[in-house]
Amino acid sequence: MTVAESLSEVAEETTASHRASFRWQTVLPWALAAVIIVLCLVPFFLVIAISFGRKIEGAAWVWDFTFENYQRFFVGTLWPDEVTFLYLQQLGYSFWYAVIASLLAVMTALPFTLLLTRLSRKAQAAWLVFILSSLSLSEVFIVMGWDILLSNNSGLPALFKSTGLTQWLKDMGWFQVLRDWGLANPRNVKFKTSEFATILTMSYLVWPYAVILLYPALSRMDPSLSEAARTMGASTSQVIRTVILPSVRLPLVGTSLLLFVFLLGTYVAVTVFADPAKHTTAVAIYTNIRGANLNAPFGATQAVILLVSASICLTLGHMLNRWAEAR
């Protein structure tokens, strides 16, 4: 074999290897795109398509292209003769619980995380491991724990009564306030089946997420910022208001939005603690798809509206943040 032949062979081998590499570089992105489409977008588009389907009374449902489900959601089935806002109300409760619970979680997680960042590295690691491991608890398990804690016969109300705290509240006149808030019956305090219990449990569910999400930003914050403010005459509350909160505004907004979206889908806590008249869209979706109603198209409609509403909220939050930043 001559040198020229050897070189030609090597060149051919190199060209073949380049061709194979080129084929892979072309195919791989398409293959990945196909996987993403099949796994993520197809189910999403299926839900959208089903939301336009039609329920057959006494049977399942059929593919269709009707806006009846959307009409039912916004104004009720009897529109225009009669208008009902039942499903909009459920959506309202979804937002109400999610907003308050996410804000509560962020507001309580902020001082805790701030203190956490000031502990020794070892203590921080121990706390973070504990908080991370608590994320592995299922929602059912957590709700069960709170159910016991807030139950009228064996939880906090029983403790209130046995320690005389209930009587003390009555003597002080504060018991009536609790009754007005729906947190007491004529005999004792009552936490279960209340917005208080629902929001508290939902807040507890996402609290570890709040800590984990706030921790990086707070641990990166230069402690000399707070110290500088202190040397310039700022009290602790002024330092928090004028230095810490503005410095972590972006992570705070981001965390609140994330927790809010996460909480929109809460199911177990709402079914256990909320008054049935105050159930959320997430509960209604389950009832329609897997529960008693077996009305998958209407469940899908509710899911789509919940998703669109959450997207609008996120967009508004983002716009608000940009506006605040520009100021």
Partner: protein, 354 residues
């Protein structure tokens, strides 16, 4: 009793003593530099003065008033941090006006005062900028203006030049000193840069291992170091370990004449500044034979590295002093004038601190 006084102030973190019990007086209107290597406790001392750390023992007196328990926000001490600690969410003007806003000064008055201070630090017209739009030197000026806004009783600066490049650092040292002299504020600067301390300070406190090694004017500290650590940390020095004998100090068999007031047989350390050692022919005591091992020109001075019976010796020779053309490999004699020698007790812990 004016000025700032520290009485027996100390700080321990767990079992570690960061600052040994310390007594210091900072004269009113003067600039004092706390100088020492990293970890010597100078920043901890400054933070105790600022009220950011509670002292473990002792008290802090300002014009005779005990302020030890007073929280930082009630001390009215302006402080410039190593990182400058400027608030990124505020404009330059709002940063400078921060203490005024906190104290309830009307917004217009605060903005006016902030603009005056920005003029003072030569940053007039920068008020509307964001902190991210400033250079390192400009940030430092904003930090100084901000700390001065509350008209502090004491002005504290924690390594204020460490984030600046060498040239800017030199310029800012002079500017800061001129500003301090103009305002007449009692000022304490923490630094590990002896040149910075010598440039700016009326007096220097040299610290090591949590304790004050020496306090004095820059000239005192340089020319009359009280121990081997100070002699070594401030400027350069040649050191020889020896034993005190009746006729001088025995350094490895060679006898040195030196003003030693130590008992015979005491182990001592002898130090001499490189510029005080002479490569001349003048007769006198302490002439030692030497081999030139290395020569380097440092611009205004030439440095000769010598090998002698005493050990290695560095001699700094000002180029204006005359012609001296020694090169590596040459032999010569180095003269160590007795009045230029400093003799310290051999102190293993002090040596370890280096």
């Amino acid at each position: 009793m004016s000025g700032l006084h520290l009485k027996g102030i100390s700080k321990s973190f767990g079992g570690t003593r960061a600052v040994e019990p310390t007594d210091l007086t900072f004269a009113e209107g003067e600039l004092t530099a706390l100088l020492g290597p990293s970890g010597c406790g100078k920043t901890t001392l400054l933070r105790m003065i600022a009220g950011l750390e509670a002292p473990s023992t002792g008290s802090i007196l300002l014009s005779g008033r005990n302020i030890t328990e007073l929280p930082a926000h009630k001390r009215k001490f302006g402080m410039v941090f190593q990182s400058f600690a400027l608030f990124p969410h505020l404009t330059v003007r709002d940063n400078v006006a921060y203490s005024l806003a906190i104290s309830g000064t009307p917004r217009g008055d605060a903005a006016r005062k902030a603009d005056e201070l920005l003029d003072l630090v030569q940053l007039g017209g920068f008020g509307d900028r964001r902190i991210g739009e400033l250079s390192g030197g400009q940030r430092q000026r904003v930090a100084i203006a901000r700390a001065l806004a509350q008209e502090p009783d004491v002005f504290l600066l924690d390594e204020p030049m460490s984030a600046l490049d060498a040239k800017l650092r030199e310029e800012m040292q002079v500017e800061l000193r001129l500003l301090q002299q103009r305002l007449g504020i009692t000022t304490i600067v923490v630094t590990h840069d002896q040149r910075e301390a010598m440039t700016m300070a009326d007096s220097i406190v040299v610290m090591s291992n949590g304790r004050v090694e020496q306090m004095g004017s820059p000239q005192d500290i340089y020319h009359r170091p009280e121990n081997a650590f100070v002699a070594d940390f401030i400027g350069k020095a040649n050191f020889f370990d020896g034993i005190v004998r009746s006729d001088g100090i025995d350094v490895g068999g060679a006898m040195l004449t030196a003003p030693a007031e130590y008992l015979k047989g005491s182990p001592v350390r002898v130090a001499i500044r490189p510029e005080r050692a002479c490569l001349d022919t003048e007769p006198g005591p302490n002439r030692v034979a030497a081999n030139v091992t290395f020569v380097r020109d440092l611009g205004p001075v030439r440095e000769y590295h010598l090998k002698t019976d005493l050990g290695p010796v560095i001699v700094e020779y000002a180029l204006g002093e005359g012609e001296l053309a020694l090169k590596a490999g040459d032999t010569c004699e180095v003269r160590l004038p007795p009045d230029a020698l400093h003799v310290f007790p051999a102190d293993p812990p002090a040596m370890a601190a280096e």
